[in-house]
Amino acid sequence: MGKPLTHLERLESESIHIMREVMAESENPVMLYSIGKDSSVMLHLAMKAFYPSKPPFPLLHVDTTWKFKEMIRFRDDRIKELGLELIVHINQAGVEQGVGPFSHGSQVHTDIMKTEALKQALDAHKFDAAFGGARRDEEKSRAKERVFSFRNAQHRWDPKNQRPELWQLYNGRVRPGESMRVFPLSNWTELDIWQYIYQQDIPIVGLYFAKNRPIVERDGMLILVDDDRLPMAEGEIPETRMVRFRTLGCYPLTGAMESHATDLPGIIEEMLVARTSEREGRAIDHDGASSMEKKKQDGYF
């Protein structure tokens, strides 16, 4: 008689099972790598799932050109260290039009540099399955999404017409042009992610740890002055504050939180007493109660 698996062991096995099913059922899979903590866990699980083989698919990073500099450095180091293939895609048309969060607003910026760019990359490489690190506990409409989420040839998600998903019998078949978005971390919570990072000693970007950083405060959001593209208001001077980030995205759209957590136990301790959800720091989620559902229908991850 064996002893039952623990909660984290069960989650790990489930994610590995999902990854292997995708590998076996799709022609040309890719793993979306956003450099954040969830992506770090997903990558770690992929290393486990196919060992002693390396993950038999490339990673894809959709670079909006507004990511924190530290994220890009971390990405390049990590990929080199693991010896994996990375595709970096930037929406060149967007760059030529000078699209950015300040000139065009967060919504247009995200649409063009993230959602559009992602579709371009998936089309260009004809990927028929793409792993994403989204979790069901992040947001209400995500809670209703399948592990294998079917997208039509226009990359659209139809919440009312999802494939039934029973037991561990995932149906990854698609016709030419159609694709699957696959979420191996569906059943993980934010706390599970942190516990796993701690238990497995998974490298994450330094931005998650508290440090003195140059900050401006706007509408209650603490913005890191990551480069000189951040337009300063009349008389606005960055001040040094001890902050860390709970999630990572485009630096002008991601709010920091004041914190003294300089290591993992510190982060987890703060999390346990936290009274706001992690997406609170994300500007794009506040565009309306159903905004995530809407964005996902349009092809957002």
Partner: protein, 629 residues
């Protein structure tokens, strides 16, 4: 909290067991309210979520000034607008004792498939009953689905006790009648609790309003109920997901252990090949394991070079899984397009996907009354019992013994959508006892003395498109060339072999199945078989194509537009169909699905029948059908 305590906390948390449960009940039972309350009372709702919830409650809520917890879990815009739960939602929370994954499932009959989805991965069910209404049809339905999908533990939450003045006798009466009903179902362990999700009675804290109740609160019950986990207690099974071959020196079989335990040195049997070997290593990223059990994702290296591929099942030698290609099954249909016996689907079980056909639908089960009714097809959300036949033998266990090896999904062969799910009940002995009679003279021998390669030329198209004319002409030409042929014509066959069949969808499928099998026998006899049938459905034509060997099926689309066929109306049928005298007439009130990749398309408007046939003959010539030395 100092770091040391955090580490202790993390070890503690990491070692907690999980309970996966589903909640079932209708909108009015307060199911979403219950989950919202569990999350709220166990302090798992964040301030920004609470702010959004308060705003939503004012705008869309059904609780006046109070917070409407249902809005917290109904995630889709359509659900919030209509105030109902449409899809399964998964929620997560933890207490000091356990971590919980909750599948929140809709209770209406039209969402039976969603409830089944939640039940398929749950270990326990919370069934809600409205204390004012008692046991309803839906309670019976929910309980039936729950037991069908193998859940053995039920928490019966008698909700809205506040609306019956917390009356004990009302509660007792409901519990008594539920227990009586539950006895009719399979073994079910029932724990009943009187609650008010809205007011919070007996959810987390014992209710002061019901001093007569001494049992556990809902949360206490969830934390302590013993569920049947069966770890390592069953024989070893591991469906192979992926063959792991990084280089020439390593060959491993990756998969998740479905049941039992394994260690290096264990002898195993591979199904369906029935070869045996010995486990040499149990490989993981964290190092080789000395033992591994149910639920673990591992990579096995075997001592011998046996042929193992995805879809095979590695089993215990002493207690291997069964092998069969014919099964008695329970099915739950999940598609708007009905299930008909005879139509082909893909069946995925474990990691294996094979073509299958429902050979017989015995009856359907009224999920409300549990009565059986005769049925010719299964509609969306209907449960039925029937026999299924696969194109090859697979390893399986009955569902009551193994969820992993006893479950399957059915996939549409055109859209690839998941259209149904099922449970293997048992193997039909027939499959093991009926063997193919091996014959000394085979298809090749029979064809060789005719100097031809047998095949089926399948003419499909609307009534009046010219199929019979072309079939007749083609046979004359082949006869002139000394080829042995036979024509199966739709009208003629319906006078004999198929005269018991009408024109409903089910009968049309059976019609084509019989023709397909007949054509197959003729091909086996070495004949060039010409079939002229409307055969309107792609899936049936495909079914026949799959019956034949590669290169034996020659699909010809006689592409005459409807208006031309109707203008010709050689048999006067279109006129009668238009007048409503004939029902289910292809092109008028029944669809024709044109082939997507026919071997040949004929346009009878622009090409004479003679020209079409010459073109067809040269194509057959090119494929080596007519000359074999």
């Amino acid at each position: 909290m100092p770091t040391q305590n955090i580490e202790e906390y993390l070890r503690d948390q990491g070692g907690k067991p999980t309970l996966r449960f589903l909640t079932c009940g209708s909108v009015d039972d307060g199911k979403s309210t219950l989950i919202g309350r569990l999350l709220y009372d166990s302090k798992l709702i964040f301030e920004d979520q609470l702010a959004a919830l308060e705003a939503d409650s004012k705008k869309l809520g059904t609780q006046g000034e109070d917070i409407d917890f249902a809005l917290l879990v109904d995630g889709l815009a359509a659900e919030r607008e209509q105030g109902i739960t449409i899809d399964v939602a998964y929620r997560y929370f933890a207490t000091d004792k356990r971590k919980f994954v909750v599948a929140d499932t809709p209770g209406h009959e039209q969402y039976t498939r969603n409830m089944a989805t939640g039940a398929s991965t749950a270990e326990l069910a919370v069934i809600l009953i409205d204390a004012r209404k008692g046991i309803l049809t839906q309670t019976r339905r929910h309980s039936y689905i729950v037991t069908l999908f193998g859940i053995k533990d039920v928490l019966l939450a008698v909700n809205k006790m506040d609306l019956v003045d917390y009356d004990e006798s009302t509660y007792r009466a409901i519990v008594a009648s539920y227990e009586q009903f539950a006895n009719e179902l399979a073994e079910l362990n029932v724990t009943a609790i009187p609650i008010s999700a809205l007011k919070g009675d007996n959810i987390i804290h014992a209710s002061k309003n019901m001093p007569w109740y001494a049992g556990p609160t809902l949360l206490e019950a969830l934390e302590t109920v013993e569920v049947d986990t069966d770890v390592g207690g069953k024989a070893f099974r591991m469906p192979v997901q992926w063959v792991n071959r990084p280089d020439l020196n390593f060959r491993g079989y990756s998969g998740t252990i479905a049941s039992g335990q394994i260690e290096p040195g264990t002898e195993v049997k591979i199904l369906p090949s029935e070869r045996t070997s010995v486990v040499a290593r149990v490989v993981t990223y964290d190092g080789d394991l000395s033992t591994a059990g149910a639920g673990q994702a591992v990579t096995l290296v075997l001592a011998d070079e046996v042929d193992v591929s995805r879809g095979d099942v590695i089993c215990s030698v002493s207690e291997p899984a069964q092998l069969s290609d014919q099964f008695a099954v329970h099915l739950l249909w999940m598609s708007e397009r009905a299930l008909f016996p005879g139509r082909q689907y893909y069946l995925k079980t474990g990691t294996r996907t094979v073509p299958c056909v429902l050979t017989d639908l015995k009856h359907k089960i009224n999920v409300n009354t549990l009565e059986t009714q005769p049925a010719k097809r299964l509609e969306l959300n209907e449960v039925g019992v029937g026999n299924i036949s696969l194109s090859e033998r697979i390893a399986f266990d009955p569902y009551r013994e193994s969820r992993a090896l006893g479950s399957f999904i059915l996939i549409d062969r055109q859209t690839y959508a998941t259209v149904g799910v099922g449970l293997f009940d048992f193997s039909l002995r027939r499959a093991q006892n009926v063997m193919w009679q091996a014959l000394t003279v085979d298809k090749e021998h029979r064809a060789a003395i005719k100097h031809q390669k047998p095949c089926v030329v399948w003419l499909t198209g609307l009534s009046g498109s010219g199929k019979s004319t072309i079939a007749n002409l083609l046979e004359s030409r082949l006869h002139d060339l000394n080829r042995h042929t036979y024509v199966l014509d739709g009208d003629n066959i319906r006078h004999g072999l198929n005269r018991d069949l009408g024109f409903t969808e089910a009968d049309r499928i059976e019609n084509i199945r019989r023709i397909g099998e007949t054509a197959k026998l003729m091909v086996d006899a070495g004949l060039i078989t010409i079939v002229a049938f409307i055969s309107p459905f792609r899936s049936e034509r495909r079914m026949v194509r799959d019956l034949m060997c590669e290169g034996e099926f020659f699909e010809v689309f006689v592409d005459t537009p409807l208006d031309v066929c109707e203008a010709r109306d050689t048999k006067g049928l279109y006129k009668r169909a238009r007048a409503g005298e004939i029902r289910n007439f292809t092109g008028i009130d029944s669809v024709y699905e044109p082939p997507e990749a026919a071997e040949m398309v004929m346009h009878t408007e622009t090409e004479s029948a003679e020209e079409s046939v010459e073109r067809l003959l040269s194509s057959l010539q090119e494929r080596g059908i007519l000359t074999v030395d």
